[in-house]
Amino acid sequence: MNNAIIRSEKLTRIYDKGFRTLALQEVDLQIPRGSITCIMGPSGHGKSTLLHLLGGLDRPSSGKVFLDDIELTAITADRLAEIRSRKIGFVFQFFNLLPVLTALENVQVAMMLAGTGKKEQAERATELLKLVGLADKLQAKPNQLSGGQRQRVAIARALANDPEILLMDEPSGNLDSRSEEELLEQIGKVNERGKTVVIVTHSETVAAMAQQIVSIRDGRLVSGGANRAERPGGKSL
């Protein structure tokens, strides 16, 4: 086992819905264990697609994804669901929470699916929501929360089963700069606890904390696996 926790080989994804879209083309990528990696690129160029494939949420048209030594692209849907449940936390771009459930319950659901007992669910969910600064919003429904608060509930949920990897798709998309700073602080904390974080973002501020920047253009890696030092204008940590 090398230092990469996630590794992709010639990852290609073609959407075929009436017309073919080549969303991702032969992407070779390595995500170092314990790192923060940012995926950047123009809108519609395949960032979300890549993230979903890395997290075993979608299957590629061709190519492989490895998580540790497990070939995600070769296992059954059920195994994949198990891995998503235990090893990976997702924060999505648009829609994250179940609207009928409170913030607390939204976090608990992830643990319920992993088979955690009710008592532990409640304790841990409360703790996680405190961690993301929502101690006073445990019983709020998603429609009673701001965009940023919802995003934080999603982060709490992503951490619910203590995954090794956190995958986030534009987590700061709708946030003002102050909320974004708070968010980055959370992400920093999570990363300090040894988690691998992959973030799709347009934000330079977010990118500034990454050890690795992956740029995508038209479904291809521009600076594949390049570390941030190679990126013009990048600041060192």
Binding site: L57, Q93, P99, M112, L113
Partner: protein, 385 residues
């Protein structure tokens, strides 16, 4: 958080849709319960009456309609149409015993009571009657009565009663047998024939055969000596049940249509719910729900409709059959259902059957939608607004 709580929260999120879908299944189950409780009441009643008769064959005049055949079982008064000569000819046939009945009506304190003319000794043997009080004497001045009549009108041996203006003394009271035989006055056949001026005719003849395997043979023999219709008790029961069944089939149709409508109502509700929640399904899959988890989540949801609608429907059904029973009882085929005890007001069996059926139908209605739900790809569900 557990799966039940999640299902419940999803069910009640759209209150009016929840209410209407529930109503649909409740109406279906209510009509089923009504059907079952009225129907089983009818059938047990008829079977009980057939047992009371205790005969292998029933000889009736030719051309009797089914209603009159039912009356043989129910003890209604009947036209008298078989002459004594036929009775004798049938009695003369070897291997069978004939019990002629003349069923009439009289009144005790202005209430109608069946009066049955019989051959005293033969009938006592046939029915295995025992005398509770007094003695068993039926002649021109004496009658015996069933225990039910004795209790209802507070009669005892030695009391007098009037039939068509003539005084009779009650010689004895029969031991309770627990069926309709308890509820009649028994008179010597010849006396009754004179009293009711029916000449030498009887209403019908019950026949007991020695050798049950030769029953078809007997039917032919009886028809050879007398111009009568002969049916076996089984045939009689069957034809009566068929008639009652035809009354029930109207109800059955209502129940079937209602349940079918409820079935599609649930399918529709679930399809709508799944369309509305396709993103949430994606989220659940993304955070670790397996396909079979999604499937069972939706299947439980629709089964829940069945359970709740079933409970409401069962209650409504019993309440409805309680109020409907007297009206249905007025139908001439079911006239003898007038007595309340024949309609089951509550039955654990019917409740259980209906609830299980309701849950099964609803779960079945959820299968297709639930399959659609677990076929959704998580990515597509989440990716777009």
């Amino acid at each position: 958080m557990d799966y039940f709580k999640l299902t419940w929260k999803n069910i009640i999120r759209r209150k009016s849709r929840f209410f209407f879908t529930l109503s649909a299944i409740a109406v279906g189950i209510a009509s089923l319960v009504t059907l079952l409780s009225l129907g089983s009441g009818l059938e047990t009643e008829i079977r009980k009456q057939a047992d009371v008769l205790g005969a292998n064959l029933v000889v009736t005049p030719r051309g009797w309609c089914a209603y009159e055949q039912i009356s043989v079982l129910t003890g209604e008064s009947l036209p008298e149409a078989i002459p004594n000569t036929d009775v004798e000819k049938i009695t003369a046939i070897k291997g069978l015993t004939a019990f002629p009945y003349l069923t009439q009506r009289t009144a005790l304190r202005n209430q109608p009571v069946p009066l049955i003319g019989i051959l005293p000794t033969r009938m006592k043997q046939f029915k295995n009657w025992r005398v509770d009080r007094g003695r068993y004497l039926l002649d021109g001045a004496n009658v015996v009565i069933g225990s039910g009549i004795a209790g209802q009108f507070k009669l005892k041996p030695g009391d007098e009663l009037r039939v068509r203006g003539q005084k009779f003394s009650i010689s004895g009271i029969l031991q309770e047998v627990g069926n309709r035989d308890d509820l009649a006055i028994y008179m010597n056949l010849a006396t009754a024939q004179k009293l009711y001026a029916v000449g030498d005719k009887v209403s019908f003849i019950a026949v007991k055969v020695d050798d049950i395997t030769r029953i078809d043979q007997y039917i032919l023999e009886i028809q050879a000596v007398a111009n009568v219709a002969v049916s076996s008790d089984k045939q009689l029961l069957k034809s009566v049940l068929a008639i009652v069944g035809s009354v029930g089939s109207a109800l059955k149709l209502v129940a079937a249509v209602a349940i079918l409508a409820a079935f599609f109502g649930i399918v529709n509700t679930m399809m709508t719910a799944i369309y509305e929640r396709r993103r949430e399904i994606g989220i659940l899959q993304a955070i670790g729900a397996k396909k079979r988890t999604i499937f069972s989540l939706f299947l439980w949801e629709s089964a829940c409709y069945g359970l709740l609608g079933g409970i409401v429907g069962v209650v409504a059904g019993f309440v409805f059959s309680y109020f409907a029973a007297p009206y249905i009882g007025q139908n001439e085929f079911t006239a003898f259902l007038g007595s309340e005890q024949s309609v089951q007001l509550f039955s654990a069996g019917i409740t259980l059957k209906s609830l299980v059926f309701s849950v099964l139908v609803s779960a079945l209605a959820g299968v297709y939608p639930a399959r659609q739900a677990c076929k959704l790809s998580p990515v597509e569900a989440i990716s777009y607004e």
